[in-house]
Every structure is written in structure tokens, then in C-alpha cells.
């Protein structure tokens, strides 16, 4: 009995979807627009996350050592830094490497290179590049470094300077921009998704409004609530499925174009690559959103006429 009823509800939903093709197409278009919004938001978030990560990655704190600092003590400091929970990575640049980097950086600056030659010896100290897990944690790392010399009072100070204090303002500003960016992203996403849901819900409500007479007749004929409601919910799912495929189809040329023309503008993230590598996840999310929206809208819209 259960399977017979399920089969009948499914068939009825499909038949009605097919016979009311004009209405079905209209509904699919509206749901598609909603899914386009949701999909675009997902991609925007990916782009934003990617750019923010890039910015975050550019932020670090550098510890410059005296030229006389012995390597064991630097490695020792590196180890204790790595033990800090805030620290993501510490990169050690030896004196020789620092010199090499300097040479490469000033390749075309003949004067500087000549001055370096004349100096005869390597004027550069070793460097530790420290990356924190979160930009807000640089302060505590800097504090740790500030206190480090005090921890080993007898030994001569090996740290020449820590550039956090010069970069402090920039780092703090970046931190707040990143935090604000994320908050704004969440807020915009929520608002747009809310608007989309309202639009889809009202469209489906209008479609069911057209059928309100039918619903009352079905009730009088003795159909149970689920038997009346079921086909509308099935139609809601079909709208979601078709809209998902349509949306993914529209995204294809769109991301292809953006990937080819706007990758730099989008902070280096190739959206076409993103589209291809996240195809199934995107499809699943949109399918879920579309189908759930369709079903819930239909459920609520029919309820109104079942209770009268």
C-alpha cells in the first residue's frame, strides 16, 4: 500500500509537471536565478577566502640577528618558536642565503652590488621568518621575542631587531580588514540567501494558489493530506533538479570566461579551475538547496489550503 501510494504520488507529480509545462518552466527559471545567486555567493566566498589567505600569507614577522649570532642559538630560538601554539611556520634564512637573496633582489642595481663587493665581508645577519596561524597572533609572538633576551640574561643579545614593531600598524589594519571582510561576507550571503528563499517560496505559493480549487475538491473526494500534498512536493523537487542542471550549465561558460580573463583580478584564483574541481560539490549543494527549497515551499503553501 505504501509503495503503491508513493508510486502514485510520484507519477502524479511528474504528470502535472509535464502537463503544466509553462508554469513549470517559469518556476524553473525563478529557482535557477536563486541557485545562480547561491552559486555565485559560494564562488565569491572562495575568491575572497583565497585572496584573504594570500594577504595573510604575505604577513609575517622577521627576526634579524646580529652578524655574530651563533647558528646553534638561532636554531634553539627557532625550536622554541615552533613550540608556540600560535606559530604556523618558521623559516630560517642563513647569512649566506640572505646575501644570495640580496644579490638577486638587486641584480640590476650595479652600484649597490659594487658597494657590497667593496665591503668584502657579508654584512647581513641571519633571519627567521615567522608566520602565525592568525594575523592577530603576531603581537603575542612579538612579545615572546621581546622577552626572549630577558630569558637568557647572561648570553649576549643575538637579536638585532624584530620588524613587528615597524609593521605593527599594517598588520593590525590587515587583521581588521580580514575580520571585517569575513563578517561582511557572511552578512551579505545571509541577506541574499534570505531574499532568494522568499522569492522561490512566493513563486511556488502562487503556483499552488492557482490549484487551490483543486485542493479543496481533492479533500472533498476524500484524499488524505499527504496524497494531496505529495505531488506538489514532487514537483518542487523536480524544479530543484532541473534548476540545478540549468545553473551548472550557465556557470560553465561564465567561469570559463572569468577564468581566462579575470584570474588576476580575482586575486589569482582561476574560477574555471575551481568550477571544474568542485563540480560535484557545487552540484550537490545547489541540488540540495533547490530541492529542499522546492519541497519546503510546496509543503507550506499547500498547508494553507488544506486547513481551510
Amino acid at each position: 500500500m505504501f509503495w503503491t501510494a508513493t508510486r502514485r504520488v510520484l507519477r502524479s507529480g511528474f504528470v502535472s509537471f509535464y502537463r503544466n509545462s509553462v508554469i513549470s518552466i517559469a518556476a524553473i527559471l525563478v529557482v535557477t536565478i536563486t541557485l545562480l545567486v547561491i552559486g555565485s555567493l559560494l564562488m565569491t566566498r572562495a575568491v575572497m577566502g583565497y585572496s584573504l589567505n594570500q594577504i595573510r600569507d604575505k604577513v609575517d614577522v622577521n627576526v634579524y640577528f646580529n652578524t655574530t649570532a651563533p647558528e646553534e642559538r638561532i636554531t634553539e630560538l627557532k625550536r622554541s618558536l615552533e613550540a608556540l601554539p600560535e606559530v604556523r611556520a618558521v623559516e630560517y634564512v642563513s647569512r649566506e642565503q640572505a646575501l644570495e637573496d640580496f644579490r638577486v633582489r638587486h641584480e640590476s642595481d650595479y652600484l649597490t652590488l659594487q658597494a657590497l663587493e667593496e665591503l668584502g665581508e657579508n654584512p647581513l645577519g641571519a633571519v627567521l621568518n615567522i608566520k602565525a596561524k592568525e594575523p592577530s597572533q603576531y603581537e603575542s609572538i612579538a612579545k615572546f621575542l621581546g622577552g626572549y633576551s630577558a630569558l637568557v640574561p647572561d648570553a649576549p643579545n643575538i637579536i638585532d631587531k624584530v620588524n613587528y614593531f615597524q609593521n605593527k600598524e599594517v598588520i593590525e589594519r590587515l587583521t581588521s580588514i580580514i575580520a571585517a571582510g569575513q563578517k561582511l561576507g557572511v552578512a551579505v550571503t545571509l541577506v541574499l540567501i534570505f531574499i532568494s528563499i522568499v522569492i522561490v517560496f512566493n513563486t511556488i505559493r502562487l503556483i499552488i494558489y492557482i490549484s487551490r480549487e483543486e485542493i479543496s475538491v481533492m479533500k472533498l473526494v476524500g484524499a488524505s493530506d499527504i496524497y494531496i500534498r505529495g505531488p506538489f512536493m514532487v514537483e518542487g523537487v523536480i524544479y530543484g533538479v532541473f534548476s540545478t542542471f540549468l545553473t551548472m550549465l550557465i556557470f560553465w561558460p561564465m567561469t570559463y570566461w572569468l577564468g581566462a580573463n579575470a584570474t588576476n583580478f580575482l586575486g589569482g584564483l582561476n574560477l574555471y579551475q575551481y568550477y571544474l574541481s568542485n563540480f560535484f560539490e557545487l552540484t550537490l549543494v545547489l541540488l540540495g538547496a533547490g530541492a529542499v527549497l522546492g519541497v519546503i515551499s510546496a509543503y507550506l503553501a499547500v498547508r494553507k489550503y488544506l486547513n481551510t
Binding site: R8, M218, V221, A223, S224, D225
Partner: protein, 225 residues
């Protein structure tokens, strides 16, 4: 079988029924007449639990139908067939599907549906129009399809609310003949109508409503206003 006990129905600006008591026994063919606004449709809607009484109660086989749960109400409605003046067929379904829907709703098997639907459509002379949609049928054909839907589940009662109101004389005659035939097979019929010819040709019990009250109840009535 059906008993209206001092039923009143008051709408915000009008009294549709005023303390009406009425009993209808099994197998009866009852016609309800009266001018527009006399309360005929309200009387029938109360029996379907489409409306709730302001006072009094309506019982079917000694059960107050306005106290039924949602599920019990659905099952109760399957025992009643309804025919409306405006047919109320499902526009998105063919004649066949309209009738099959009533059977599906009451949980009949596919085999029963396949066997009974063509048969009942044959009975109301729509054997040729199984797969026509309502908009492809004439008024008389629509009403016959609606009757087929009303009788398909072999209900105990058929409620026909001005079923001939939109029909030409020939279709009216056909519809009345069908209702008579169904009544002869033992189904209780409650018919509301404006049509004098219909009432006079039936020669069955007639109640006359006026301003929400029963003013006549004749065993073999004629249309008198």
C-alpha cells in the same frame, strides 16, 4: 442515518440556517428546494464538514461529524459522493484520471481502478471520452463525469448541489435519470435544486427552505414556493 439536530449557522452578516432539525433515512431521495440564499448549500456543506455549525450538531450513523479527527474525516468523506453545480473536476486530469483519483485516494488497487473506471464511465455514457480533459467536454458531459466520480467508490450518500443548474434540458434529464438509477440501487441521495421540472418528475420527498428554516416537508412533494 443522517440527523440534523437544531442546527444554526450564522455568518457575520446573515443567518444561513436557523435551528434546523431534519432526519434522513437510508435509501431516501431527498430534494431540497428554496430561493437563493435560503440556506440549501449551507445545509449540504455542513454534512461534508466543509462548514461548522454555530449551534447544534450534524450526525451520521450517530457520530457527530464535526467532532471527527482529520484522518477520520477523510475516511468519512470517502463514504459520500459529491456533485456540484460547477462540476469541479480536476482540470489537469483526464476524465479517466479524475475518476481514478477518487479511487486512488481511497486506496483501491490498480487492478480495481483499471476494471471499474471504464465501466462507470460507460454507465454515464462517457465511454468514448475517457482521455478527454474537462475543457474538452460539454457541460452535460462534465456533470456526468462528476457523477461518475461521485459514485465510483460506492458511497452511502450522494450530495448533489444544484447539479443541473448549468445544464440544458436534455442534459438535465440525463443527470436526473442517472441519479434516480443510483438511488434505485440503494444509495441515499440529497439533491438541492431550483428546477421545478426536476422536482415534479421525481415525486419523492421534498423539503422547502426559506430564510434558514424548513417551511415544508412533503413525502411526495411538488415544487411549491
Amino acid at each position: 442515518m443522517i440527523y440534523y439536530d437544531k442546527v444554526s449557522k450564522v455568518y457575520p452578516n446573515a443567518v444561513a440556517l436557523d435551528s434546523v432539525s431534519l432526519s434522513i433515512s437510508e435509501g431516501e431521495f431527498l430534494s431540497v428546494v428554496g430561493p437563493s440564499g435560503a440556506g440549501k448549500t449551507t445545509l449540504l456543506k455542513l454534512l461534508l464538514a466543509e462548514e461548522y455549525p454555530t449551534e447544534g450538531s450534524v450526525s451520521f450513523e450517530s457520530v457527530d461529524i464535526h467532532k471527527l479527527s482529520n484522518g477520520a474525516l477523510t475516511r468519512f468523506r470517502r463514504r459520500i459522493g459529491v456533485v456540484f453545480q460547477d462540476f469541479r473536476l480536476l482540470p489537469g486530469k483526464t476524465a479517466y484520471e479524475n475518476i481514478a483519483f477518487a479511487m486512488e485516494a481511497s486506496g483501491k488497487t490498480d487492478e480495481e481502478i483499471a476494471a471499474d473506471v471504464p465501466h462507470v464511465l460507460e454507465l454515464v455514457d462517457l465511454g468514448e471520452k475517457l482521455y478527454n480533459f474537462p475543457h474538452q467536454l460539454s457541460g452535460g458531459e462534465k456533470q456526468r463525469a462528476a457523477i461518475a466520480r461521485a459514485i465510483i467508490n460506492q458511497p452511502d450518500v450522494i450530495i448533489a448541489d444544484e447539479p443541473t443548474g448549468n445544464l440544458d434540458p436534455v442534459s438535465t434529464h440525463e443527470v436526473v435519470q442517472i441519479l434516480k438509477k443510483i438511488n434505485d440501487l440503494g444509495t441515499t441521495i440529497i439533491l438541492s435544486t431550483h428546477n421545478k421540472g426536476v422536482i415534479d418528475s421525481l415525486g419523492r420527498r421534498v423539503i422547502t427552505l426559506e430564510r434558514g428554516k424548513i417551511i415544508r416537508d412533503d413525502k411526495e412533494g411538488k415544487y411549491v414556493l
